[in-house]
């Protein structure tokens, strides 16, 4: 029995989500290998990854066709690597993991479990359903278990071991059914929303895009990331990659500050795993009060600048 973790990287290092997926894999207690795919930059990433505690081997697939990790191109590689060797394949439940793994599952004629939050045993896992309103314990009866893991439920693997082997693996052919056209990635100086220790989020209560600067200043004082509710994103106050919730990012920071967020079910599904939740809201009865550790009923436009000053 052996586990293969599908890595994602920023071009220089593994993502926080991948380091957390490695922890989930190590929880399984099997030999764990990591697959790093990409263009010319991937070999440096693989070398660095080889120092991650608990990894047995790093497989490096370096080819232009893997640069954008298109599902059609990476599926044949992963499927062939699984062969008779791997009993478990895991990835962060990021947009990449969710895009790629179901294709691999279908090619192997096995099922798949999405968004695993707990490893119960080698074939049994917990995962949230119904927007986190229920937790299902599910047993996989397939010979190969494919899982995406909810990164926020696992700690980051640390980078402290003697370098393990890095082995080059071959790619195959790129698919003719799909062509990468372009991409637009948001650049930010702040920490990544999904892995930040502190997240400060604004909701509809912020009233405008300009007022979001109040959120940003508190986040910067705390070295945190900025988030937003779906209502704030839909109103155009914040870009959609900042959305926290069932349909956006799932976060579980040490400290989550929700300003002007009422706490719709779909928002709570994305942040109720946070260690400490602070809600600042004018409405003492807002649903967010039910999950908040500290509730401050106040005017946002007075409380946020005061908070910034006090930190």
């Amino acid at each position: 029995m052996r586990t293969l973790v599908i890595a994602e990287h920023t071009g220089s290092q593994l993502t926080a989500g991948t380091l957390r997926a490695i922890t989930a894999a190590i929880d399984l207690g099997l030999d764990t290998d990591l697959l790093v795919m990409g263009g010319p930059e991937a070999s440096a990433v693989a070398e660095h990854a080889a120092l991650t505690k608990g990894l047995h081997r790093v497989l490096l697939a370096q080819d232009e066709m893997f640069e954008k990790t298109l599902a059609e191109n990476v599926q044949p590689l992963i499927t062939s690597l699984v062969g008779d060797i791997y009993t478990h394949v895991m990835a962060d439940a990021s947009s990449m993991g969710r895009n790629v793994l179901p294709r691999v599952a279908a090619s192997l004629d096995v099922g798949m479990l999405s968004d695993v939050i707990k490893v119960v045993s080698a074939d049994t896992f917990e995962r949230p359903i119904y927007a986190g309103n229920a937790i299902a314990t599910v047993q996989s009866i397939d010979s190969v278990k494919l899982l995406t893991v909810r990164a926020s439920a696992f700690a980051q693997a640390s980078s402290h071991q003697d370098r393990c082997d890095v082995i080059a693996v071959d790619g195959g052919q790129s698919a003719s059914t799909v062509r990468f056209v372009s991409e637009q990635l948001t650049v930010s100086e702040r920490p990544d929303l999904s892995s930040a220790r502190v997240v400060v989020s604004g909701g509809r209560g912020m009233q405008s895009k300009a007022n979001f600067a109040l959120i940003e200043r508190v986040a910067d004082k705390l070295g945190g990331a900025v988030g937003a509710s779906r209502a704030a994103v839909d109103a155009g106050f914040a870009p959609n990659d900042l959305q926290v919730g069932q349909t956006g990012k799932i976060v579980a920071p040490d400290l989550y500050i929700a300003a002007g967020i009422s706490g719709a079910i779909q928002h709570l599904a994305g942040m109720s795993g946070s260690k400490v939740i602070v809600a600042i809201n004018q409405d003492a009865e807002a649903p967010i009060a039910k999950v908040a550790d500290y509730m401050l009923v106040a005017d946002l436009f007075e409380a946020l600048p005061a908070l910034e000053k006090a930190l």
């Binding site: 279908a106 359903i129 229920a134 937790i135 059914t177 400290l255 109720s272 509730m295």
Partner: protein, 249 residues
């Protein structure tokens, strides 16, 4: 060109979820059901493609019990031309649903197959991608814009940290995300008209798909409850608590 939209009957998003006391699942007895919201977005997109003249026929398909006819009628009322129900009372595992759907695709030969990116009940986010693999087509998940140019489906996708555009040859699988469109409401005359539109029921077993059990649901429990918080009366009290009690700042 024909577009096929796969839809799922799921719990109404506004209904409070109740977990059964015996841990066997979520109680759906007498609960209001609806077209899964992401599937509704997929249906809306298909209808818009027809209104723009990109496609000429919109076919909706669902896999499930006969109760799913209700959601297929909803899709017909929104503007789909005809509907297919693959009838089965088995637990709906994504790979099995994908196998039924690929048989339907073999028969219907659509140039575009639309899905919601996930259903709000089981939240698997798998079926579209599995269908794409089974029929050997390209896929674009989490779509926020779809167009057709130079014999290719050009799709903008929401990805972590931004967006990506891919071009797919037909037939292509696209799964729809929240920002693709805002679904319309069905008008009363259209609801009446929908009752006369064709809805064909196919027994799942007749499709000859090679389905089997892949996962077993052992139990369903409530998520851990957060312990009650406290009210703080001022920013300085909040900062004091975060500093001295929570030790966070």
């Amino acid at each position: 060109m024909k577009v096929l939209v796969a839809v799922k009957r799921a719990i109404d998003p506004n209904v409070k979820v109740r977990v059964k006391g015996d841990g066997s699942g979520v109680d759906l007895n007498g609960v209001k059901m609806a077209l899964n919201p992401f599937c509704e977005i997929a249906v809306e997109e298909a209808i818009r493609l027809k209104e723009k003249g990109v496609v000429c026929e919109v076919v909706v398909v669902s896999v499930g019990t006969s109760a799913a006819q209700e959601q297929l009628r909803t899709a017909l009322a929104l503007g789909a031309d005809r509907a297919l129900l693959v009838e089965t009372s088995a637990m709906l595992e994504p790979l099995n649903v994908a196998k039924y759907l690929s048989k339907v695709i073999d028969n219907e030969k659509p140039q575009l197959i639309l899905f919601g990116k996930q259903a709000i009940d089981q939240e698997n986010n798998q079926t579209g991608q599995m269908v794409a693999q089974l029929i050997g087509s390209g896929q674009a998940t989490f779509a926020s814009a779809i167009s057709y140019a130079d014999d290719r489906w050009v799709v903008e996708r929401e990805v972590d940290g931004g967006s990506q555009v891919v071009a797919l040859t037909a037939p292509a699988v696209v799964t729809c995300d929240l920002r693709l469109n805002e679904p319309r409401y069905a008008s009363l005359p259209n609801i009446m008209k929908a009752k006369k539109k064709p809805l064909e029921v196919i027994a799942a077993d007749d499709l000859g798909a090679n389905v089997r059990e892949h996962t077993r649901l052992l139990k369903v429990t409530l998520p851990p409850v957060r312990k009650a918080g406290i009210n703080v009366s001022s920013v300085s009290e909040l900062v004091e608590k975060l500093r001295n009690v929570a030790g966070l700042i």
